[in-house]
């Protein structure tokens, strides 16, 4: 379980305060919010790239973080070399790294691009490479920060389909997005996502609100898993503590 307790972070006039989250394995969680509401900061905190000022993050397995602009994430020039970067840092043997890389590329559907230079790939494929990089480390929790924001409809659908596949395989995926959960919900519905695949969670034990869940009853649970209610609360918190110019 990835558990954030009373998470606080501050830089300049911006402040995240008392964030509580509970992410279980095999669940799909959406963190939605407007620009500047602190979604990316929260993603980096959950991913382990930033240290919280107060509060704690407990995690029982490896976490992977994918940023919105994959171009800023690549260390090596070719697909397989970059995907291998994480396992190499963990000191695994060459054989293990080869297995990890092959598995991650297969999961993300990138096997045929293994030897290709990343600079020659489309944006959607680059996002897949970035996700493969996290999967190669055997990350059980994937925190994806606006991975669909710079993609067209087709590229976005490709990534969402991959996310749903990963959830089915038992990974916990946290998608930070400013897309409406309704769209993600419809996508899941269209691709036959099962209701019980996602487990509803809220940071506080209250029912998620909003008409969208009723509008799309087939994936109501799936939608409820998207954290609209919680995000609204988070936004309220940010609004209260953002003292800088609007």
């Amino acid at each position: 379980m990835l558990k954030a307790t009373d998470l606080c972070f501050r830089y300049g006039s911006f402040e995240l305060k008392n964030i509580n989250l509970n992410i279980e394995k095999g669940t799909f969680t959406c963190i939605c919010g407007s620009n500047g509401s602190g979604k990316s900061t929260l993603a980096r905190l959950l991913g382990g790239a930033l240290e919280p000022k107060n509060g704690s993050i407990e995690c029982d397995a490896l976490r992977g973080l994918v940023l919105s602009n994959p171009d800023n994430m690549f260390v090596n020039p070719t697909v397989e070399e970059d995907v291998a970067f994480g396992p190499e840092n963990l000191g695994r043997t060459s054989e293990q790294i080869r297995q990890d890389v092959d598995r991650a590329l297969e999961l993300t559907g990138m096997t045929e691009y293994a030897k290709q230079r990343i600079s020659t790939l489309s944006y959607g494929l680059k996002q897949r490479v970035a996700i493969a990089g996290a999967l190669a480390m055997d990350a059980r929790y994937l925190i994806l920060d606006e991975v669909t924001s710079m993609l067209d409809r087709q590229g976005s659908d490709m990534i969402l389909a991959l996310i749903l596949d990963l959830v089915k395989q038992g990974k916990a995926v946290v998608l930070v997005t400013h897309n409406t959960p309704r769209r993600i919900c419809r996508f899941g519905c269209h691709h036959g996502q099962r209701k019980d695949c996602c487990k509803r969670q809220t940071s506080e034990d209250s029912e998620p609100e909003g008409a969208d869940g009723q509008m799309c009853p087939q994936t109501a649970l799936h939608y409820k898993n998207c954290r609209q209610t919680q995000t609204e609360r988070l936004s309220d918190q940010f609004r209260g503590h953002n003292t800088g110019p609007a």
Partner: protein, 210 residues
């Protein structure tokens, strides 16, 4: 064949040849070096056009060298550029970083070299984009150049910050001796390349002395 050589062999031979060029005063030895580089390019399956594509101004440098009677320094410069092209085309930044890592056993230094090399084209593209944006907003040539530098630095720092975060979450620095997916090995080809290069060096020294 040149692409299959161990990166360390290529890097050390490149340094040797670069140093040697500065001691060449005889036009015959310069021509010999050019012939050697053409042979290397052929072995590296590099089309001649690709070799000099980015250095078309070399022709002007040579003409100016002839006019100003400074042919030898101009020719040396051109040979150095061709040499670095051969190395860059046949060796990836990762391989160069690996070779540097064998000389300077510091993981951070190696990573710094690797990232610097791979970020050069990215920053060049970014600079071009920012410059175009400034020109479209009416900035004159000189002003556009100045107005490009500040956003370029800001962008570079943002990229560096993102990359640092990405590397942190991908366990960079957790082990003192990280492993590798593909470890290059020295082969007989490397030995052949070293012997061949030393023969060439002996020939150049012979021409210079005679």
């Amino acid at each position: 064949m040149l692409r299959r050589l161990h990166p360390l062999t290529k890097l050390l031979l490149f340094i040797l040849l670069a140093v040697l060029v500065f001691f060449e005063k005889n036009p015959s030895s310069l021509i010999l070096t050019l012939a050697f580089l053409v042979f290397c390019a052929a072995k590296g399956e590099i089309p001649p056009a690709k070799l000099i594509r980015n250095y078309r101004w070399m022709i002007f440098a040579l003409i100016i060298g002839i006019v100003a009677s400074t042919m030898v320094p101009a020719a040396r410069l051109c040979l150095l550029l061709i040499m670095s092209s051969v190395l860059n085309i046949t060796t990836t930044p990762t391989e160069i970083a690996y070779a540097v890592g064998m000389i300077v056993p510091s993981r951070d230094f190696t990573m710094m070299v690797s990232i610097s090399l791979s970020f050069i084209p990215v920053l060049a593209e970014e600079a071009s984009r920012i410059s175009d944006a400034q020109k479209s907003r009416g900035a004159k040539r000189t002003r556009a150049a100045v107005a490009t530098v500040v956003p370029l630095f800001a962008s570079a720092f943002r990229r560096a910050s993102d990359l640092a975060d990405a590397m942190t979450v991908r366990a960079y620095g957790t082990t003192a001796r990280p492993s590798r997916l593909n470890t290059p090995h020295f082969t007989k080809t490397d030995l052949g390349a070293v012997i061949f290069t030393f023969c060439y060096v002996a020939a150049v020294i012979f021409v210079e002395v005679i």
